[in-house]
Amino acid sequence: MKFFNVLKQTTMLVAVCLTYPAFSEESETIKVGVLHSLSGTMAISETTLKDTVLMMIEEQNQLGGLLGKQLKAVVVDPASNWPLFAEKTRELISKEEVDVIFGCWTSVSRKSVLPVIEELNGLLFYPVQYEGEESSRNVFYTGAAPNQQAIPAVDYFMNEIGVERWVLAGTDYVYPRTTNKILEAYLLANGVSEEDIMINYTPFGHSDWQGIVSGIKKFGSSGKKTGVVSTINGDANVPFYKELGNQGISAEDIPVVAFSVGEEELSGLDTKPLIGHLAAWNYFQSVQTRENDDFIAQWKKFIKDDKRVTNDPMEATYIGFKMWVQAVEKTGTTDVDAVAEAMLGLTTPNLTGGIAVMNRNHHLSKPVLIGEIQADGQIEVVWETHGTVIGDAWSDYLPSSKDLVADWAKPISCGNFNTKTAKCSGQNF
């Protein structure tokens, strides 16, 4: 009966492996979970953030750790697989018992993690610009909400460049969909007529842009000043910009402002044809402040590569980490409820100057910068907001969310409070 032999061996193997972590040392460390894809399609963006967290942890440990304990990173690879994100979160919280998680990039990975982190009452710092329309008790959003990136960029186009005709081009997923929805509503409210707006969606990793770019060219040849607002995701940008350059569309004719193109994406790209196209972020590597110079030097040293660049999600990770450390020091514990409460109102200097504040809706106040791409792959600021902009969890331009606010301070303590009905809609708690 060979079958039973196989079974016996397998069971023993499984049993040994399952119980293995139980024996690992449980000494005086605070565990920090790192939940970024190291393989699969998103590895390209997310590995950098994993390294950033590791760098911050190393720095903190050199400063003597936290609450007298050393920090220990627990790195897992959710492999760009969305259900795996949920599973790994569960593993990090209930098995590894981490005190905080830094992670996720795509919206879908965050959505997948959300129920788990709420159920197990974990703490997640999410460092990427996103579509808003969310505020969870257990998540702190250190990236930009649409009103900290998209709306100022459109304002700049409208008021400074005088754009009258708009192309909203994006990858077909929730971030571009929502952002474009918000922008469309915003443009219509500002008197742009419907035929002057062209919306276009492409699949992930789209590589053949010939038809679309020539469409944009045609749309832009009507005589009115035309601008492109791009929410095209990561990988698809390279062929998009190459096609723009080759079809001879320069930034002076039809400028493109992108929300997902940062220094890192540009470093994989020949930037000559892109000079003058724009990007809107809360951070650029080119901004010269003492904090930023230090950060860049530290990063280059840590990653042992002088050519590596820094970008906005890295700054968001940096701010999130600094704030978490502050909150833990303030409360003297890593308890999630206490830390989450202490987070509200905390401040940390931005790398680009000014002070980031964690607001009661779990979003940050940050400055908005708009920059033009330079020949060396850096982005140089051409416009910035006066002071900081408060991240808005629920957009005021969408009919479904204009009455909603998030306020995690007492007495409201709710992520989606309807100001009209004065009720906390949805959500179980």
Partner: protein, 375 residues
């Protein structure tokens, strides 16, 4: 029950093996659940709820592997699109769970799921109608994959698309479905898919009791599926299917309409995959177009190959082992695990053509000496 069939068709060993497997599966899952519910947390014997959910997921994937094994291992049809049936079943269940959220979504809309609210949809599209009933959803999770498999299989087998060609067009099928489900206009939540489920049949999905019950449900379903597959493959029908695998032309010359058998096996297998998907979704909490990715289907085929095809428990063992390895490796060697996994696939295919169970000397069902034909 077995005894009511003609005895001659199965050897003693096979029946023993069947009962052995089933009782092992049920006892183990029972024991694991017991250890979770009744043994206190401090005890080393306590099984965490995390492990239960993980095991539940493995068992769902084992059902998927089983479904692939009966078309590939027993009928010689290599489908690289079984992920599509699995995902369709998952979507059917996901739609039900989505509607169960009701007005507890973030926008508090009474009927529409959140993603429809922010895409400004005013009412539920027609194809969502009826999914508020659990039984309808469950029925659909079997029916939809079944119908798709029937149409696809009937067209393909009738025009005698075989072997590699069939594999490649099934791959195209699942790829096309993936692209389609990625589109937000489709009304299935686009890239984000369906998530943030609250409860099932009125029970809170996040409570431990429901998780354990779902796990037990999955174990039962796997047992029933296993038993059904066993009966099917050991019946006269199963003999013909095996014969088709070994030499389709000969069977055709003998007067059998082989395409009918193939379609039947394919549809049965798709239904099984669909049910696996329906069980999978409430346990992992999300279903999105990524499940349609051709890579997922290929991976599922590899579980079967690693375990050992043509043997039912080979598929189950393969699915559980590979996924378990994946879980461990992604945590232990986050940077290198793909090397390990890749090497595993290469080595198993070259050195263990009959999979891990080949190590123990078990042969794929009835191929053995009589058939030289590889599949």
């Amino acid at each position: 029950m077995i005894s009511s069939y003609k005895r001659g068709w199965y050897s003693e060993n096979k029946i023993k093996s069947l009962y052995g497997f089933l009782s092992f599966l049920l006892v183990l899952s029972g024991a694991v659940s017991f250890c979770n519910v009744y043994i206190p947390r401090e005890s080393p014997l306590h099984v965490e709820i995390f492990t239960i959910t993980l095991l539940g997921k493995y068992l769902c994937l084992a059902i998927l592997a089983l479904s692939i094994d009966i078309v590939w291992g027993y009928c010689g049809i290599l489908s690289l699109g079984h992920g599509a049936f699995f995902a369709l079943g998952g979507y059917a269940m996901g739609m039900h769970l989505m509607l169960q959220i009701g007005d507890r979504g973030v926008y508090g809309h009474p009927t529409l799921p959140d993603f429809m609210v922010f895409l400004n949809w005013s009412e539920l599209p027609w194809f969502w109608v009826g999914f508020d009933s659990f039984w309808f959803a469950l029925f659909c999770s079997a029916l939809l994959p079944g119908v798709l498999a029937f149409v696809f299989g009937w067209l393909a087998f009738r025009s005698r698309v075989t072997g590699v060609y069939f594999s490649i067009i099934t791959q195209a099928l699942t790829y096309a479905l993936m692209l389609a489900f990625f589109r937000n206009e489709m009304g299935f939540g686009g890239n984000n898919g369906l998530t943030d489920f609250k409860d099932i049949l009125g029970f809170d999905l996040q409570s431990d009791a429901v998780r354990v019950s779902l796990f037990l449900c999955t174990a039962m379903t796997l047992s029933v599926a296993y038993y059904l597959c066993f009966l099917l493959m050991e019946s006269k029908f199963g003999r013909v299917v095996l014969a088709i695998r070994d030499s389709e032309e000969r069977v055709r010359f003998l007067g059998y309409q082989t395409e009918i058998y193939k379609v039947a096996v394919f549809v049965f297998s798709a239904i099984l995959a669909g049910i696996a998907g329906a069980l999978y979704v409430p346990q992992v909490g999300i279903i999105n177009p990524g499940e349609f990715a051709p890579l997922n289907s290929i991976e599922a085929v590899i579980w079967v190959a690693v375990g050992g095809r043509g043997v039912l428990y080979g598929a189950v063992i393969g699915a559980v082992l590979v996924n378990f390895a994946k879980t461990r490796f992604t945590a232990l060697f986050p940077e290198e695990w793909l090397f390990v996994l890749g090497a595993l696939f290469v080595l198993v295919t070259i050195f263990l053509p009959r999979g891990l169970i080949g190590l123990a000397g078990d042969r794929p069902s009835n191929s053995g000496e009589t058939s030289r034909r590889e599949f």
